[in-house]
Symmetry: C2
Subunit: 190 residues, 2 copies
């Protein structure tokens, strides 16, 4: 029961993401996904009884992977580093390797905006966690929103930033984030 002959689920999920990217967010058809995954339509519907379940699967896998990546980054990085900094680093890295670009999100959104609620929830929790661990609210707001902007541009395929500019941005953000003990509020309030 836990031994699929080949692991079709992952192939299907990957195929769905591919089709979404190549055919456009509004043209994600089950037939296309099935043929792309090298699976019959019946087989697809066997794994995901409905299109909604497919989308849900996509979202869940995305969240799981992100959580995993954050966990890994957290345990790999020096223990002195705060959560905000690791988050910045992780997001910047993911944006640079834009192969991951989760443009399938638009497909899910087109299908039904409610598919994003798990993501919203996750983000909200992450933000709360960051708020709890970051003394300097100013720095948190600015840096968090900035990397949110980076992700957004990456998602939409914008990104007018040159490599060195992006590097400069990330450096600045990290500086802000790491200076959270230095109470840089005074400087700005003066």
């Amino acid at each position: 029961m836990k031994a699929p002959r080949t692991n079709s689920r992952e192939k299907i999920l990957a195929a769905a993401a591919d089709v979404a990217r190549e055919a456009g967010p509004g043209n994600l058809s089950l037939d296309a996904v099935a043929s792309r995954a090298g699976v019959s339509k019946g087989g697809l519907l066997y794994n995901f009884p409905t299109k909604a379940k497919l989308m849900q699967g996509l979202v869940e896998e995305y969240l799981r992977e992100f959580e995993q990546a954050l966990e890994d980054a957290r345990s790999t990085s020096p223990s002195a580093e705060n959560l905000l900094s690791t988050y910045i680093r992780l997001a910047a890295r993911e944006c640079r390797d834009m192969e991951t670009s989760a443009s399938w999100i638009f497909s899910a959104l087109a299908e039904d905006p409610d598919f994003l609620t798990p993501i919203k929830l996750f983000r909200r929790q992450l933000f709360e966690r960051l708020k709890a661990e970051t003394p300097d609210l100013r720095a948190l707001l600015v840096t968090y929103l900035a990397i949110e902007g980076l992700r957004s541009m990456n998602l939409f395929g914008f990104d007018p930033l040159a490599d060195d500019e992006r590097q400069l941005l990330v450096d600045s953000l990290l500086k802000m984030a790491e200076a959270d003990n230095a109470v840089p509020l005074e400087k700005l309030d003066a």
Copy 2:
């Protein structure tokens, strides 16, 4: 010949945005738009011969209005203020009054990603203009990306920010933007 009995185009455009928001990005049907605009489907197709033209119209109007708003804000604000600051203020205001939330963009994106290229172009030009007028590249990158993040969250309906937090954020961004003559690089580089 240039006197439409009633100005249907605007009504149709507004109706399209409404339908996109209420029915979901993937469910923008011409019939729904027509009935929402108080126009028959034939009338709709008369004004916009194809769905693609409708989307194009949406994008063009959006860009025109944004350009207009920026122009207005620029002429209204004190002449001492730099472009980046007015842009920040404008974007923040637009995000606060989220009635404008251009979620129809997702519809256009679902229909065909290419509809966004005019927007991309516009943004790129704006960014270049800001880069030319802002001496402190660091401040520009951080603030621009941060408001980009704000817009993105607003667009997706996220926004975990409380009112005072958003206010704090905007204040911080404005301080960064206005200090562009003060060469605040030294502080960070030290």
